[in-house]
């Protein structure tokens, strides 16, 4: 699996190493308002966000459904003009140079938008031709991309026969047909089983190691932690935090989290007792969720000792490392996946 990485990197020809001038993407006060239509009120999907992204970075937009991630991605993909603010990409203006920008980026949409009636190779051909590539070029790149996506055996099968994971890999292969400088992935592993997710992550890692700049949206914490060098957390169309996964955890939550569950009968009393422990020398903060309590502490075992010393006997007690999920909960008071 790993052995062929270097040779593929050399032959895949993705545009990782290109002379860079200025940021690859820069958004200022970027806003998207979906106008009122057919009884629905106008919706501010993206509310004046700023971000910038350098070449070679893997950048993530994290947030729950409706946070404005997909609307932001559509603007970056140049298929949805900003309502106001500026979006500069590859030295061009997304509002006026959409076609030229789209020629140099790759897009992996949430719904695969593959043609199920055509074969794997035909899908690549049609897509490559949209970029004005010659048939010979598409054929040559298709071989490498199918190899990269582990779909060599499926080249002449119709897409309708592929599994969800294979389709997603094909969509990624397709998005690389124009040798893009920037790859956009909208919820790349949503709907895939764990094994298919890991295969996909491994492929994305390979791209990243070749220097391809990635932008992805996700509502999976582990995905953001695995893939992103830097990310922004969005909520209600705004960016509420920005940084590397590690720095966000360091800045907003403790090192560890103690998860406590209590029997229904003692939950109310136990909650009061635990809440009284924070902020204290060991337990820094407590979040009350419908089914459990989260106790933020730098040492979870110490926190559990304090809880036990208070005379409480939880049904289950789990000590784990703090995650981006906790950051999100701390920042917004809501959990990401509900």
């Amino acid at each position: 699996m790993q052995g062929d990485t270097a040779s593929q990197a050399a032959t895949l020809g993705v545009a990782g190493e290109r002379p860079s001038t200025g940021p690859l993407v820069e958004a200022r006060k970027l806003t998207k308002v979906h106008p009122a239509r057919g009884g629905a009120a106008a919706l501010v999907a993206v509310d004046g966000i700023d971000f910038r992204l350098e070449r070679g970075e893997a950048f993530g937009f994290l947030g729950p459904n409706g946070a404005g991630k997909s609307s932001t991605m559509r603007m970056i993909a140049c298929v949805s003009p900003p309502t106001s603010g500026t979006l500069r990409m590859l030295g061009m203006d997304a509002a006026t140079d959409g076609s030229a920008i789209r020629a140099r980026i790759g897009v992996v949409p949430q719904d695969d938008s593959l043609d199920a009636a055509l074969t794997v190779r035909e899908n690549l051909l049609v897509y490559g031709r949209y970029f004005g590539l010659s048939r010979a070029t598409v054929r040559e790149r298709s071989d490498k991309l199918l190899d990269f996506a582990r779909l060599e055996d499926k080249a002449d099968q119709r897409v309708e026969t592929l599994s969800g994971g294979m389709r997603r890999r094909l969509t990624i292969a397709r998005s690389l047909i124009n040798d893009p400088e920037l790859l956009l992935l909208d919820e790349p592993t949503t709907g895939l089983d764990p094994q298919a997710r890991h295969v996909l992550w491994e492929r994305l890692f390979q791209l990243k190691s070749q220097g391809v700049t990635l932008i992805l949206t996700t509502h999976y914490m582990d995905e953001a932690e695995q893939l992103c060098d830097r990310l922004v957390i969005m909520d209600g169309g705004r960016i509420v935090a920005e940084g590397s996964p590690r720095s966000l955890i360091d800045a907003h939550v403790t090192r560890e989290v103690l998860e406590l569950r209590f029997a229904d009968a003692d939950r109310e009393k136990a909650t009061d007792v635990v809440l009284a422990l924070a902020p204290g020398p060991v337990c820094q903060r407590v979040d009350v969720l419908p089914d459990r309590l989260l106790v933020y502490a730098d040492d979870g075992d110490d926190a559990l000792a304090v809880v036990n010393a208070a005379g409480l006997e939880p049904l289950t007690a789990l000590v784990r490392r703090a995650s981006l999920e906790d950051v999100f909960l701390t920042l917004t008071g809501r959990s990401l996946v509900e």
């Binding site: 298929v79 949805s80 076609s99 030229a100 938008s113 199920a116 949209y130 004005g132």
Partner: protein, 260 residues
């Protein structure tokens, strides 16, 4: 996006051709067998009509009179379907427009490429129709060859405005209803089966507003080799105006749907 080059629309054309190749055999059979059965049947009935009176038909056999009108009407049907239903499906999840709009293709490129492909299919359909018609002796002069582009233009006059609507609508069923209750009755109102001179004067005026009537007249006059410059300009002009209006309208709805 503003510069208009022919290359990007041809890419959309090529993409649709690739998909069409999967089904073209079936559609060729339908394209030839349908007119064969229909025209043969009508030819038999036509003999009865011919034996009573062909005065209102201008002295030609009913089959010769009818065939080019039917050709125009089939083109209308295909134009309505490929334009309206086609745009609706292509813009829906799993449709081809989703992928295309993420590429350098502009919505207008996609629109023009699709209409180009519809024109190509309309021409194939009409050529097949003409072949059968000629075999049955209902294409009296070489002028009949020109009914192929005339019928294709008739179909396109429906396809362009329908594409504008089809990509924007949320409800497929509304289009089907219009097809059933507006388009199909146009057959009767457009002088396809019987001369308009046989209906009341007010109904004739309604027909003048029917694009199909203009298509039927154009094809019929060409087939009989009796098209005047004035009639050609009126009928052709009406249909071309429909195409232009449809394209202008569709440019807006395509942009709104694909690049909102």
């Amino acid at each position: 996006m503003t510069e208009l080059s022919l290359a990007p629309p041809l890419r959309e054309f090529a993409a649709e051709w690739l998909k069409y190749r999967r089904t073209w055999r079936g559609s060729i059979v339908i394209g030839l067998v349908n007119p064969l059965l229909f025209l043969t049947g009508i030819g038999i009935i036509g003999k009865l009509i011919d034996s009573s009176a062909t005065g209102p038909l201008g002295g030609v056999s009913y089959l010769t009179w009818l065939a080019p009108g039917l050709m125009a009407a089939s083109a209308m049907q295909m134009g309505f379907g490929s334009g309206g239903f086609g745009a609706f499906r292509a813009a829906a999840p799993g449709g081809g427009y989703r992928a295309a709009s993420a590429t350098p293709m502009s919505p207008t490129d996609i629109l023009l490429g699709s209409l180009l492909f519809v024109t190509f299919r309309l021409s194939l359909l009409s050529a097949g129709f003409l072949l059968v018609q000629a075999l049955l002796g209902a294409a009296p002069t070489w002028w009949a060859v020109l009914t192929v582009p005339a019928a294709a233009l008739t179909g396109l006059a429906f396809a362009a405005p329908m594409a504008a609507w089809g990509i924007a609508t949320k409800r497929f069923s509304t289009m089907q209803t219009v097809f059933r209750f507006v388009v199909q009755p146009l057959y009767l109102l457009s002088g396809t089966f019987f001369p308009l001179s046989t209906v009341p004067a007010w109904l004739q005026k309604v027909a003048y507003a029917s694009p199909l009537w203009h298509g039927v007249e154009l094809c019929r006059d060409i087939n009989l080799g009796r098209l005047t410059f004035a009639a050609g300009a009126i009928h052709g002009g009406f249909l071309i105006a429909m195409v232009i209006a449809g394209v202008l309208f569709a440019r807006v709805t395509y942009r709104r749907k694909l690049h909102e």
